[in-house]
């Protein structure tokens, strides 16, 4: 491969314009707002949030837990795409593999921060989890398997898969040399080394694959095992969490890779073919999720105990109907767009993007609609019905953490090749 062809992969390094700096400035501003909100929250207590006790007409878990579930759902994308590339040899998706891995890491980091900011005593949260952690609690796995195990194994996976690229960058004398020396970790590109590299990645992908199902199921079990909360207590909770994670995670990956393709002009590498495959997968997962919501709603409304019927009524035609129908219609529209393109065998990037955005809007609403109504409306003793709406503090923290995620992602594209070099690229000595 010639230098010009290698140059295509290095495009993100060439263009650091005013627009990028403006984006960074906006993100820093949003992060400062989030930081200020957090400062207020930890000096005044969680009283400044919209959350209140369930026995006093509120929700004890609010948008923080909703966002935690959303972000951990998003993290699905990385490992699934990487596993497809390494295990099923779907070389086609190799250009988005690293984007997916980075998305997983950043999403898990944000998810972990949401847990931490939701805790009344965050410092104890970290210390006591080591000292007194109880595996009998479903929440223990949110801390251990997801926030720690999943995050670290993805980091290791990404580091190992990035060694070859770092050594190529170093051999070609590009970018920040000391960083690539560390990241290449002694890897020297040769035929033999490349074979070994692929073998190791394959083994790691096999080892990491169970985490994909485990992480999202455990999060579902946090809710699905609670007999005291009508609406949460259902056997479909864990499979539904995995399904929605697949849809929203792949959707987020589509959005991110399209933004990168457009910003850095990478149309040559990120072909429409990739997006067609990702879009089909997302559409199928969305279809399955719609089916799961329908069967869940049917059971709740038709056969459910009074608590479940109350929640189902509120979602279908009551106070929560606007949110619920917005969620359902986003999913249905997203599914229909993909299905129409599939049926006509002609895909447009606009259609795939619209669908991915709709799936993510639906997922954001769905996560909060799972968590909140069962607390505000789900009391089985004669408490008054409650309500919850996030305060500006909570919204600022959410915005700030979103900005942190985008910030980390943007910075990464500037210091490391966001697209893995193909086999043909050799480290020249």
């Amino acid at each position: 491969m010639s230098k010009e062809e290698l140059g295509v992969y290095l495009k993100p390094f060439n263009r650091t314009g005013g627009k990028f700096l403006a984006l960074i400035a906006v993100l820093l501003g949003a992060m400062a707002l989030g930081g200020y909100a957090l400062y207020i929250q930890f000096t005044e207590g969680h009283y400044v949030s919209g959350m209140r006790d369930v026995g006093a007409g509120g929700a004890a878990w609010g948008i923080y837990i909703g966002m935690l579930v959303y972000f951990i759902g998003i993290s699905y994308a990385g490992i699934s795409v990487s596993a497809a590339v390494r295990l099923l040899n779907l070389e086609k998706y190799k250009p988005v593999a690293r984007m997916g891995e980075l998305l997983t890491i950043i999403a898990l980091l944000l998810g972990s921060l949401f847990i931490l900011f939701d805790l009344g005593q965050p410092i104890r949260g970290v210390i006591n989890m080591f000292q007194f952690g109880r595996p009998m609690s479903p929440l223990f796995f949110t801390f251990s398997v997801i926030a720690t195990g999943y995050l670290w194994s993805t980091l290791i996976f990404m580091y190992i898969s990035g060694r070859r690229d770092a050594s190529i960058m170093k051999a070609n004398g590009l970018g920040i040399k000391p960083l690539y020396t560390v990241l290449s970790g002694g890897y020297v590109d040769s035929h033999k080394a490349r074979e070994k590299h692929n073998k190791v990645l394959k083994a790691l992908a096999v080892a990491i694959l169970p985490l994909l199902v485990m992480a999202h199921s455990f999060l579902g079990f946090v809710f699905g095992l609670q007999v005291g909360r009508p609406g949460w207590y259902t056997a479909i909770q864990a499979p539904a969490f995995v399904t929605l994670a697949a849809a929203s995670g792949i959707g987020a990956l589509i959005i991110i890779s399209l933004v990168i393709r457009r910003t850095y002009g990478l149309q040559q590498i990120l072909t429409q073919d990739i997006f067609r495959g990702l879009g089909n997968f997302m559409g199928a997962a969305t279809g399955v999720y719609i089916y799961m919501i329908i069967s869940e709603m049917y059971v709740m409304k038709y056969a459910g105990p009074s608590g479940e019927v109350l929640i189902a009524d509120s979602m279908l035609s009551g106070q929560l109907a606007p949110y619920f129908w917005a969620e359902i219609l986003s999913f249905i529209a997203a599914f229909l767009i993909i299905f129409a393109m599939f049926a006509r065998k002609s895909y447009s990037l606009l259609g795939i993007t619209t669908s991915a955005v709709l799936v993510n809007i639906g997922a954001l609403l769905a996560r909060n609609m799972i968590i909140i109504p069962s607390q505000t409306l789900g009391m089985q003793l004669p408490y008054a019905l409650g309500s919850y709406f996030p305060s500006w503090i909570e919204i600022s923290v959410v915005v700030g953490l979103f900005a942190l995620g985008v910030f980390l992602y943007s910075i990464f594209t500037k210091i490391f090749p966001i697209i893995e070099f193909p086999e043909e690229v050799r480290g020249e000595r």
Partner: protein, 252 residues
Amino acid sequence: MVKYAMAIDLDRCMGCRACMEACKIENNTGRNIFWMFVFKQESGEYPNTTTNYMPRPCMHCDNAPCVKVCPVGARFKSETGAVLTDFDRCVGCRYCEVSCPYGVNYFNWREPADNQYYHWGKGEAEGKYGTADIRTLANGSISPYRNPTLDEPHGAEKRTVAGGGHYVGVIEKCTFCVQRTDKGLDPACVANCPVSVYTFGDLDDPNSSISKLLASRSSFRLLEETNTHPRVYYLGTPMPLEHRKHLENISV
């Protein structure tokens, strides 16, 4: 071993809420925190209406959902049958609160001193309501609303479990007044009830008053279908759950 239980006679309750008041004074709980709460509701259609009352302490379940879900073991079942919270260990995740079908958990959303009636922590009460005099009476040695003995370790476990309002960002709930039962006294709500709604005692002892009461009368427990095995038994007419209307709400 003593295994405490409580029986509540709904036919006797007249909704005076002396139990709620006694609980607040004994346990120093803040605003919007009701370890003991008495539901008041009206049922039936005019003119044939009745008003019903139902006290609701923590059920101290034998198969407590809150104990099962606590990720650090701060919520635990004590040897005496009470479900207690270790305030030094709680991380404030509120999983116990969302897992409880009865809604008996209360979170310290803000600094307990600021959440006390009269805002003691912020000094807003100084000079108002004659509170400066209360501080003088206490020789300025303690916060006027706080009982320092509640900070001592209690029970066989020797953990900080008594009373409320210890730290911001931790959960709290009814303890069956562990500081009183340790000394052989009845919980504050039981002791303060003017019409003997409550019977409290050792269910393992067949000769205790509660064992005899539960053997002689039919009783029920709340939400038994959730398999929580509560240690609080109700006697008398259950609260009607159809055609009901709240007489008041807890405002947040």
